[in-house]
């Protein structure tokens, strides 16, 4: 209930803020001089007339650029946003092709145009605010910040804006825009039968989601839940087995009396250094039915026929987790080594005096300390493993498939490798998009739950 209240209050607060903002726009206009009022249409006008040409020109340039983009370019796509295109491809009598509407670009550029419109509104609002402030300062008889000061502040007070401008732009274009695009695709029929430029795709509402969850007929329901379950099981084992065994190896090497500590660590660390597409591809082949491992086991008479490592669903799942130990233990070992040294020696000494043995010390001192310190790290590891594409794909590509699973999914497929296969092999973008959204939901839910349960989510200011 409490949750609901705060969300309700937030929404109410949002509308209050909107109201206040609209009122401010009105009063700024009413109380504004002609420079301010013209700035309502020509952005930067007031700033220019007041001598702040850096601000004025940039505002003007932005307005011109965005308006040009929206009306000169975006509109032709935006007008088709509702249908995603109507005219298809055709062949001319001389054999050449004429492409019609391209649903892909209609959707992409419509989104871009919508973002451009939002950006324009935001800049317009900032422009009004600048005018109001300038007018206010002048009325008080103060000086406006000079152009030089404006520019200099970009390296000082406003250095954060300078630093973040490019990274934010990059993230907007190459992360935010594509994600919005793919979320939209989840509500269309963009697949191999509706592929631009030759064919159009269009909105289909929630059909793809229904299809993913329905268990009968063509639905992916049972397959989806099988893959989801394995994804969670895999993540669990890949995270915690690696964690405990990695810690064990670290403790083993850290023991007093063990020599060549650095050598042992260096040997283990090889798996981090060698690119995975080399090492994992090779290791995968080693366990093939006719691979090295089986051949030698047969040669030595230990088994009479090859162990179906990669073709039996259960074996392949177990083997993947085991090989992942080979990849993951060194990483945890490195981290644990550093942290173990931070545990005060006298804790162990006093425990020893109390007569505790090694195991008791581990469970009462080492483990609680490690879990406390690395709690959030375990969460990121878990989420990383949910999306651990390389290990799965390089080893099995999700195989073995089965008549019990649809959509080309196999028993070792994670949601993310299934998504990849949907995209690359089947160009079934609509279903891939839905699966992607599901991955997001799973990740978000787990993160939220864990963050609320974990005690050691730290106040970041506390460290400084």
């Amino acid at each position: 209930m409490k949750e609901k209240n705060t969300i309700g209050m937030q929404i109410a607060g949002f509308f209050k803020w909107i109201g206040a903002d609209l009122k401010d726009i009105g009063t700024t206009f009413a109380g504004g001089d002609f420079r301010t009022r013209i700035s309502y249409i020509i952005m930067g006008f007031g700033q220019l007339l007041r001598g702040q040409w850096v601000r004025g020109l940039s505002m003007l340039a932005c307005e011109a650029g965005l308006l040009y983009f929206i009306f000169g370019f975006g509109m032709q796509y935006l007008k088709d946003f509702g249908t995603l295109g109507t005219s298809g491809r055709g062949f001319n009598p001389d054999g050449t092709v004429s492409y019609g509407d391209n649903s892909f670009f209609i959707l992409l550029y419509s989104l871009l145009s919508i973002f451009a419109i939002l950006a324009l509104i935001l800049l317009w609002r900032i422009n009004l605010y600048q005018n109001k402030e300038a007018q206010h300062l002048l009325a008080m008889g103060k000086r406006l910040p000079s152009n030089g000061q404006d520019l200099h502040s970009l390296l000082d007070h406003n250095f954060d804006k300078t630093l973040l401008a490019l990274p934010c732009l990059g993230i907007f274009v190459f992360t935010v825009l594509p994600i919005f695009f793919m979320i939209c695709v989840a509500f269309t029929n963009y697949d191999y039968n509706h592929q631009p430029p030759s064919q159009l795709f269009t909105w289909v509402g929630l059909e793809n989601f229904r299809n993913l969850f329905s268990t009968g007929g063509e639905g992916y329901g049972s397959t989806f839940f099988t893959v989801l379950t394995w994804t969670l099981v895999w993540s669990f084992f890949a995270t915690f087995l690696n964690y405990f065994l990695g810690m064990a190896v670290a403790i083993l090497i850290n023991q007093k009396g063990i020599k060549f500590k650095k050598l042992w660590r260096t040997i283990l660390v090889m798996t981090i250094a060698v690119p995975q597409f080399v090492s994992l591809l090779y290791v995968g082949k080693m366990f093939a039915a006719d691979g090295l491992v089986n051949s030698y086991l047969i040669k030595w008479g230990l088994i009479s026929r090859a162990i179906p490592f990669w073709t039996n669903p259960l074996y392949s799942r177990i083997l993947i987790i085991v090989i992942n130990l080979w990849v993951g233990i060194p990483y945890i070992m490195l981290i644990a080594t550093g942290l173990l040294m931070n545990i005060p020696e006298d804790l162990y000494e006093s425990a020893k005096i109390d007569g505790a043995n090694a195991f008791q010390m581990f469970f009462s001192i080492t483990l609680p300390y490690m879990l406390f310190v690395t709690g959030p790290f375990l969460l990121t590891q878990f989420i990383g493993n949910l999306n651990n594409f390389n290990v799965i794909f390089l080893l099995t590509q999700g195989k073995p498939q089965s008549m019990n699973l649809k959509g080309g999914a196999g028993y070792t497929d994670l949601l993310v490798t299934w998504l990849y296969k949907m995209t690359v092999n089947d160009t079934n973008y609509k279903t891939a998009a839905v699966i992607g959204i599901m991955v997001f939901i799973v990740t978000a839910v787990i993160s939220l739950v864990v963050y609320n349960v974990l005690p050691s989510v730290k106040d970041e200011e506390g460290f400084q």
């Binding site: 005219s87 009598p93 001389d94």
Partner: protein, 430 residues
């Protein structure tokens, strides 16, 4: 507080610049006028036609890249009026080529080689220019009927046949396999020698060797646009069950390995594979190299000769917006699939021709692997069009067999699995 605004504006300018950058490439996307009903005049056939200039991108398999380059040079030397075009040949295997072209038709190669199983997908993705009119008659006359059918969707020819050798047969090690005509004997020999028999039974392509042998059926009908309209499937039948049983029996042998790539077969005495691997197979088996048609197998006391697909490699031309370039591409594709070039390609890379005259070439007739394939082709059906989903489904069926799902299944359970398979197959046709 106020000064922050300036930098937000800077961000805005950058954004605007980027947006404008995207805008630059716009004109190409201008919706074209609908050509329907329009009757543009054909360019008059005059002495000097201006074909324009530009770049033609070709994707072929790695082992014929150099060959294709030299043939293109020969083509432009013979047709100087088309020499305004430069050709780049990239090694992109048949599977990748089709996949890439389907992902982005406009970015794909202008001319590309592919195996026919991709044809329907390519047509429905709009990645092929139809071969019509006189050209259709010409190409149909050149090549054997089955290869022309394989390049046809609905009633329209969409590609230029390159080879008729996309079938499979048996490569084996003479010193191990004594009787290559019986699957049971081959498997027994392999088991005795501790060697492997390789067949990729989790591929929809190799699997049909069993199903078609017992008389089960699986074909599709398509309309002109590459949509599947009807499925003729009889896997859920006694014949289907017999074939599935044969696969299960094979999988139970310790000698069985799933695979069809000579170089990935680590312990190989016999392998079901195609002509493209003949060089590798010779290297692998050395002087014990031998090949033969596929063996027969026995289920419940009945013998069946293995069947399968006889497939074809095709060359396609991507739809073009420029009439001059289209003509050059078509002429070049025609040339690359002509009799002389097919013979030359056989000599360079061992690809068996689809051209009727080229097939009668002495050297082609004398080829060991092609002879084995030729014998096998009598028992196969020419491969038609299959939906992409079929191949994934067949892999699932094969994987189920290999993982032992059906090891102890009775006939009724096998029938149920095949019924499921058949229903799904029928579902792919609208």
């Amino acid at each position: 507080m106020k000064k922050r605004i300036v930098s937000i504006m800077m961000t805005g300018i950058l954004a605007a610049a980027l947006l404008a950058g995207c805008g630059g490439s716009k004109p190409a996307e201008q919706p074209a006028e609908q050509p329907a009903g329009e009757t543009a005049e054909q360019p008059a056939e005059t002495e000097a036609v201006d074909y324009g200039s530009g770049e033609i991108k070709i994707w072929v398999a790695e082992n014929v890249v150099d060959f294709t380059k030299s043939q293109c040079d020969a083509f432009f030397a013979a047709n100087p009026d088309m020499a305004g075009y430069t050709v780049t040949v990239e090694p992109v295997g048949e599977g990748d080529a089709a996949g890439n072209v389907i992902t982005d038709v406009e970015g794909g190669a202008d001319i590309y080689g592919f195996a026919q199983d991709q044809l329907a997908r390519l047509v429905s993705a709009g990645a092929l220019t139809p071969v019509t009119g006189d050209e259709q008659t010409l190409i149909s006359g050149w090549n054997d009927e089955a290869s022309v059918n394989a390049a046809t969707v609905g009633g329209t020819l969409y590609a230029y046949p390159l080879t008729s050798d996309n079938g499979y047969f048996l490569y084996y090690d003479k010193s191990v396999v004594t009787d290559p005509t019986s699957l049971d004997a081959i498997v027994a020999d392999c088991e005795a020698a501790g060697k492997g028999f390789y067949m990729e039974i989790n591929s929809g392509w190799y699997q049909t060797a069993f199903f078609f042998a017992t008389g089960a059926e699986l074909t599709y009908e398509t309309d002109d646009a590459g949509n599947f309209t009807k499925a003729n499937v009889s896997y859920a039948s006694e014949q289907g069950v017999a074939a599935l049983k044969a696969m299960i029996n094979l999988h139970k042998s310790p000698a069985f390995n799933n695979g069809s790539s000579v170089s990935n077969a680590a312990n190989c005495a016999a392998i079901v594979d195609g002509t493209w691997d003949s060089g590798a197979a010779k290297d692998l088996f050395g002087e014990n190299y031998a090949c033969a048609k596929l063996p027969s197998f026995t289920v419940d006391g009945k013998d069946y000769q293995m069947s399968g697909f006889g497939g074809f490699k095709l060359m396609g031309v991507k739809p073009q917006t420029d009439a001059g370039k289209l003509q050059v591409c078509k002429a070049l594709a025609q040339y690359l699939s002509s009799e002389e070039v097919q013979v030359a390609r056989y000599e360079a890379a061992g690809w068996g021709p689809s051209n009727k005259n080229a097939q009668q070439n002495e050297k082609v007739l004398a080829d060991e692997a092609l002879t084995a394939l030729g014998e096998q082709l009598q028992f196969t059906i020419p491969q038609g069009q299959y939906p992409g989903d079929y191949w994934a489904l067949a892999t699932s069926l094969g994987d189920s067999v290999i993982s032992g799902d059906y090891d102890n299944a009775d006939d009724a359970a096998l029938m149920a699995a095949l019924q499921d398979f058949q229903t799904t197959c029928e579902g792919y046709a609208q």
